[in-house]
């Protein structure tokens, strides 16, 4: 077990290290550099000044040298300054991370609470009317453009009915918790709907497969009630693949957060990354992207651990392969 975990951790660290270099180089390829931005801000800067500034900031060095310097600083805890927010990068990222965790956590829990029972209900009688209806809804959920769904929710609830705010984050201290919670309703709803479809189909497929197994027939033959068969015998086994697939979708959640947060002006990581890239805030974009990658890798790592832990039949060697 320890050997497997160690191997997995080492692999994740390698991916993260590689990604830090790739993202660093990519960001260097975006339009403009910090000195260009200064020239735009202050037309009095001469060509010699610009050259001197590039020298000062090390922008004339090779990409490897610059990356090495950045990495050394980052490893000692210095991630640089955010240009847009005029604050150290970490001070900008931490509150945004908190907001994203609230949003993702709520919609993740809500999506599972709806998708798992729906998947089980569909699987219990495959190709019945119930299954057909659930399947249709799941396909619709997978196929709806997430940002368009968000726009439609805004049109219905904020424009036509006028019962919920179209975006933003409530002011703390004003209006109490319920007043602030109203700002969460539409973002959470659109993120939840976007992920229910996939989860439902995974759950349905796994449950159908499980209900076909011999031990289920045995359980029925011994006179176990249907509730006991489905929830006592089948559910735990059916959950094994579902847990792994859902945990592997972690990176996908981040993509959803980016869209939802941008549309609803929710000050989280997704919107932060988008704004940083659009606003040429190189330091912030780099660290935020790497943090998103790190969190995704942690999610994948936990998925591997959960897989082995849930299913003792799987040997570690098999997973490594």
């Amino acid at each position: 077990m320890t050997r497997f975990l160690f191997h997995r951790l080492w692999q994740s660290a390698l991916v993260l290290g590689l990604m830090s270099f790739v993202v660093y180089s990519l960001i260097g390829l975006m339009p403009g550099d910090p000195v260009d931005l200064m020239i735009t801000a202050d037309p009095k800067i001469t060509a010699e000044d610009a050259a001197r500034l590039r020298e000062l900031y090390g922008l004339n060095k090779s990409i490897f040298e610059r990356y090495g310097n950045w990495l050394a600083a980052a490893l000692s805890g210095d991630f640089g300054y955010s240009r847009l927010h005029a604050k150290p990068v970490m001070q900008v990222i931490i509150p945004a991370l908190g907001n994203t965790v609230t949003l993702l956590g709520l919609s993740f829990a809500l999506a599972l609470a709806i998708a798992l029972p729906a998947g089980i209900a569909a699987a219990y009688r495959p190709y019945s009317k119930t299954d057909y209806a659930i399947n249709l809804a799941a396909f619709a959920g997978i196929s709806v453009p997430p940002f368009w769904l968000a726009l439609m929710l805004i049109i219905v609830f904020a424009v036509i009915l006028g019962v919920l705010p179209a975006g933003g984050l409530g002011t703390l201290g004003a209006g109490g918790i319920w007043e602030n919670a109203r700002f969460l309703v539409l973002p959470v709803a659109s993120l939840t709907i976007a992920s229910i479809g996939g989860h439902t189909r995974y759950m349905r497929a796994a449950m159908i497969e499980t209900l076909r197994q011999d031990y289920i027939r045995t359980a029925r033959a011994t006179g176990a009630g249907e509730v006991r068969v489905v929830f006592g015998h089948a559910l735990r086994n059916a959950l094994i693949p579902v847990v792994t697939i859902i945990a592997l979708d972690f990176g996908y959640l981040f993509s959803g957060a980016l869209i939802t947060e941008t549309i609803f002006a929710w000050p989280g990581m997704g919107r932060l990354i988008y704004d940083a890239i659009m606003g040429n805030d190189f330091n912030l974009a780099l660290v935020a992207l790497l943090l998103a990658t790190l969190l995704t890798l942690v999610g994948n790592f936990l998925a591997d651990v959960a897989y082995v832990w849930l299913d003792p039949r799987i040997s570690f060697r098999e997973v490594e392969r």
Binding site: V23, L29, V144, I160, I259
Partner: protein, 307 residues
């Protein structure tokens, strides 16, 4: 679900019969054909209505539906229907070409990994896992924001009108190949131990010949199904990137970038936000049903396994 073959029935007739049983897939095929036809005839619609796709008419902004403008006009008086049709050409083109390109890359990677095995397999599959593990959309945004001049593309290419179109196809293909690669690798791994492959090897067939002539045809079904399903995903991805202002650049219309302005105008003209989204939704769901139907028809064992 698999229908037993009738006597004297060819494989294709059997496949066709199984496909026709999936009613939603058949309807979807019809819907997609109609959409493609409508998109292809965009210039015709433009000529019939006597309006140009890019013609600005500031006196007729936010018009409702009329004979001259069946779906009304947008914030600078352009005809919505004609722009939707032209947008459909772009969105469908991106969806089909990027899905095809992803399938080609994925097939090559999967074949090499599955046939050669060993270190090459380990390296390619770890790379695949790495790509799958990444937070996709944030990274795509970086790729879409790159200055193409800085990576050595000639000025004329980097600033040409349709560069955003090619760029998005390349970006999607760069990240979209993983599903097909895994699928192909898994099947190729099993196929290379089969007797017909061993026989070909014994006769001295080259590795390239075994991969392309003996293994690849047996992979056609899963590749076709996965590619069909991925067209829908690509169209969604293109629409998201274009919506965020990083995909297809105006004035070229795509279903995604038609929605970009719609958010700011959501109070004045909610219907502007409605139509493009409906078209994306219908197209994507149709491709998903089509993929599902093709899976039932081409790969019935997989369906039995999945239920």
């Amino acid at each position: 679900m698999s229908a037993p073959g009738r006597k004297g029935e060819t494989v294709w007739a059997l496949t066709g019969r199984r496909f026709l049983k999936h009613r939603l897939a058949v309807v979807s095929l019809g819907v997609l054909a109609a959409l493609a036809l409508a998109a292809l005839s965009a210039p015709l619609a433009s000529a019939l209505l006597g309006v140009d796709a890019g013609a600005v008419d500031l006196f007729n902004r936010f018009q409702g539906a009329s004979w001259a403008h069946p779906l009304g006009t947008d914030e600078i008086g352009r005809d919505i229907l004609v722009r939707l049709l032209y947008g459909g050409r772009i969105s469908l083109f991106v969806g089909l070409t990027a899905a095809f390109a992803s399938a080609v890359i994925g097939t090559m990677v999967g074949l090499l990994a599955g046939y050669y095995g060993g270190r090459l397999d380990a390296f390619l599959m770890r790379t695949t896992d790495g790509v799958i593990a990444l937070p996709l959309l944030p990274l795509l945004i970086v790729l879409a924001a790159l200055d193409l001049g800085k990576i050595g593309l000639p000025e004329a290419v980097a600033t040409s009108e349709y560069i955003s179109l090619y760029r998005i196809v390349v970006i999607v293909a760069l990240v979209g190949w993983t599903t097909v690669a895994r699928l192909v690798r898994g099947t190729a791994l099993a196929l290379r131990e089969r007797q017909f492959v061993l026989a070909a090897e014994a006769q001295g067939a080259s590795a390239l010949r075994i991969m392309t002539v003996h293994i690849l045809p047996n992979l056609a079904s899963p590749i076709i199904v996965a590619t069909t399903l991925s067209v829908g995903n690509v169209i969604l991805l293109e629409s998201v990137l274009s919506f965020l202002g990083l995909g297809i650049q105006p004035p070229i219309p795509s279903w995604g970038n038609l929605l970009t302005n719609a958010q700011e105008l959501i109070f004045e003209a909610p219907s502007l936000a409605f139509y493009p989204g409906v078209l994306i939704f219908v197209t994507v769901i149709a491709f998903n049903f089509l993929g599902d139907g093709l899976q039932d028809a081409l790969d019935p064992r997989a369906t039995e396994r999945r239920g």
